[in-house]
């Protein structure tokens, strides 16, 4: 009964994001745990408490991601592992997924991998699908509730949000799931957990430890630079009129003329 929860430190969601003259993204120095991951971490801890499972928290990236890992330890994860190798610098989502999948396989006995819904810094969830594919496990995305989990019988039943409503899906374990906001109320770190986390040295697994060669770190896509979105321009026009009805009529006329209505 081993659960792996995958996390990442991302720029603060309140940070002002800009692009410098060299095409480099600026998002401030402050990093936070991916807010979506907070739900995944809490759900993993709730499952740990209910099933006496072991929880490993894992991140791919340089040292700055230790913050998210320590946050997970402080909430109650049993161990943290950071995957990083200079060759992974500038990785695309597929390289990321290969690294995560290799780490899961190295852990050996993981039967449930949990992700937050997406990475807000790049607004993508491709890495979740790619990780499931690399592992060859079922993917249950956008989970709003874990209805049943039976490690012994190797089954999981979840409620997931789909465009038309919700659907209930069952799958065999091992599986990969991504969870939504609202699946739980994210836990805070405990003070005892904080102390444990602050004293923990987080091991770093490089490519060779994962059994990957340099070719595995070669992405198919590379970000060459960023550009600012064009500035949105707009003008405000105050509609005058003798009465509210008069103003509303003029507004409707304008909206028709502009083909808004």
């Amino acid at each position: 009964m081993h659960i792996a929860v995958i996390t990442k430190s991302v720029p603060d969601t309140e940070a002002v994001v800009s692009v410098d003259a060299g095409g480099k993204l600026l998002a401030g120095d402050k990093l936070v745990v991916n807010p979506w991951d907070e739900y995944a971490i809490t759900e993993a801890i709730l499952l740990k408490e209910a099933h006496k499972a072991k929880v490993t928290i894992l991140a791919v990236g340089p040292e700055q991601h230790n913050e998210a890992l320590k946050h997970g330890l402080a909430i109650g994860c049993d161990q943290a592992i950071r995957v990083w190798d200079g060759a992974l610098e500038g990785h695309d989502s597929l390289v990321y997924a290969k690294a995560v999948a290799a780490a899961i396989q190295k852990l050996g006995d993981v039967t449930l991998v949990m992700f937050g819904r997406e990475l807000p810094d790049i607004a993508s969830d491709a890495h979740i699908f790619q990780t499931a594919r690399k592992l060859g496990w079922n993917l249950l995305g956008s989970v709003s509730k874990i209805e049943a989990l039976d490690f012994a019988a190797k089954t999981i039943r979840v409620r997931r949000l789909v465009e038309q409503g919700t659907e209930v899906l069952s799958s065999r374990l091992p599986a990969v799931i991504s969870v939504l906001k609202g699946i739980n109320e994210p836990k805070y770190p405990t003070f005892i957990g904080i102390r444990k986390a602050s004293k923990t040295e987080i091991p770093v697994w490089g490519l060779s430890a994962l059994g990957l060669d340099a070719a595995a770190a070669q992405g198919q896509a590379a970000v060459t630079g960023y550009r600012e979105l064009p500035k949105r321009e707009g003008a405000v026009e105050i509609i005058e009129g003798a009465s509210a009805q008069d103003k509303a009529a003029k507004l409707v006329e304008k909206l028709f003329a502009e083909k808004v209505l």
Binding site: Y188, P189, T190, R195, S198
Partner: protein, 404 residues
């Protein structure tokens, strides 16, 4: 000299910040306007372990140091003074007194449930006619066999109607010379016969805080509830203030930070004369002063916390931190209101609440004038720290984090 906070302190600070900002900040204004404590505050602070943050683990606490206590208070008052007041009385004035002066049996009976947040605690020194002059308090404790009979009324007591345990300072010898030698300290519980309490309404600030009175009429208090020796109560009361004032000072830095952060944000949003007001020099001056007051207040708080960690007497250093930080929090709040203009004068924004809250802290736990007298008396050599039977308890990470 190392000004860096360690990882443990930073993570604790972040955790309390999250709690205060996410759970309390969104609705604190409503509770302040209703003149009622936010119902979530006490139980959640208990549940999260905040109430026992710097009590050793073996006494039910979390085993963090005094600097962390300061950081916690700063984060709490960044949102509202009423949150920090809980720490001042429960942790600073009461629990730390039990740690310093309590017998092992008293620690097990009172400190452990307080540190775990199972019981709330308060401190009652002030009376209607005894605030800055506590040696002349009128409450009495008359010994009769194995009990003391307590009579009197305490005023301006935080958590008066919420606390389960109350540290009472009363006279055991009304004729003692000097008068402070006739004072003793007792732990009473709210369920004792003859104890009544009520809330005080109409306060200028800390309106979401619980402040009240406690009346004692022939309350029988077992001898084993006396904290320290008979006649030691004044020393105990003053040592409590060394810890309480530390939390007030740390909280006031949080209030200054609130003024600074809100003013920075608003001054970039509000335009006059075609530019954000942040670009006007006189606005920059206000921001600069707030930054200066915050930095200086925080350094004074850290210095006092560092002395506490070492177990050294810190009355003067804590008093100067409390005096400076609280006086500057009032100035910062006044400047913030001015910067916000008419909006600052309305309760649409938070800065008017910061101002009302800040004013109280220049009065309670030793008015600014008392803190000034303390500084002058130390400087003039009129006041020196005399040895006390139980010196402040130094922070020892291994011992405080050990289960046994």
């Amino acid at each position: 000299m190392d000004f860096m906070l360690n990882e443990e302190q930073l993570m604790a600070q972040e955790m309390v910040r999250k709690f205060a900002q996410e759970e309390i900040a969104p609705t604190i204004k409503e509770w302040d306007q209703k003149h009622q404590p936010h119902p979530h505050v006490l139980p959640r602070m208990a549940e999260l372990g905040i109430l026992g943050i710097n009590i050793p683990v073996k006494y039910g606490g979390q085993g963090f140091d005094y600097i962390t206590l300061g950081l916690v208070c700063e984060e709490l008052e960044r949102v509202d003074a009423s949150l920090r007041v809980v720490m001042s009385v429960h942790a600073g004035l009461n629990s730390l007194a039990l740690l310093q002066w309590g017998t092992e049996e008293q620690k097990q009976r009172f400190l452990v449930p307080q540190a775990k947040g199972e019981k709330y605690a308060g401190y009652a020194l002030t009376e209607a006619d005894a605030g800055s002059d506590p040696a002349n308090l009128r409450s009495t404790a008359r010994r009769e066999g194995d009990v003391y009979i307590l009579n009197g009324e305490k005023m301006w007591i935080s958590l008066a109607t919420k606390a389960d345990h109350m540290l009472i300072i009363a006279k055991t010898d009304p004729h003692a010379k000097p008068v402070h030698k006739g004072i003793s300290a007792f732990i009473i519980t709210s369920d004792m016969k003859g104890v009544t309490a009520g809330d005080i309404h109409g306060k200028l600030g800390v309106r979401a805080g619980s402040t009240g009175w406690i009346a004692m009429q022939d309350v029988e208090v077992p001898v084993e509830n006396r904290l320290g020796e008979e006649g030691e109560g004044f020393n105990i009361a003053m040592s409590c203030l060394d810890n309480g004032r530390f939390t007030v000072a740390a909280g006031a830095t949080g209030c200054i930070r609130a003024c600074l952060e809100d003013s920075v944000k608003y001054s970039k949003e509000r335009h006059t004369f075609g530019v954000p007001i942040a670009q006007h020099q006189l606005i920059k001056q206000k921001i600069a002063f707030m930054q200066q007051w915050y930095d200086a207040a925080r350094l004074l708080v850290f210095k006092a916390g560092w002395l506490k960690n070492l177990g050294k007497r810190n009355t003067r250093e804590t008093a100067v931190a409390k005096w400076f930080a609280t006086d500057m929090s009032v100035k910062a709040a006044l400047e913030a209101v001015q910067l916000y203009g008419a909006y600052g004068f309305s309760d649409e924004y938070d800065v008017e609440r910061y101002l009302r809250n800040a004013k109280g802290a220049t009065i309670y736990e030793g008015a600014s004038e008392i803190q000034q007298l303390i500084q002058a008396d130390y400087a003039l050599g009129y006041r020196k720290d005399k040895p006390i039977r139980c010196e402040p308890v130094a922070y020892d990470a291994d011992a405080w984090q050990s289960e046994a």
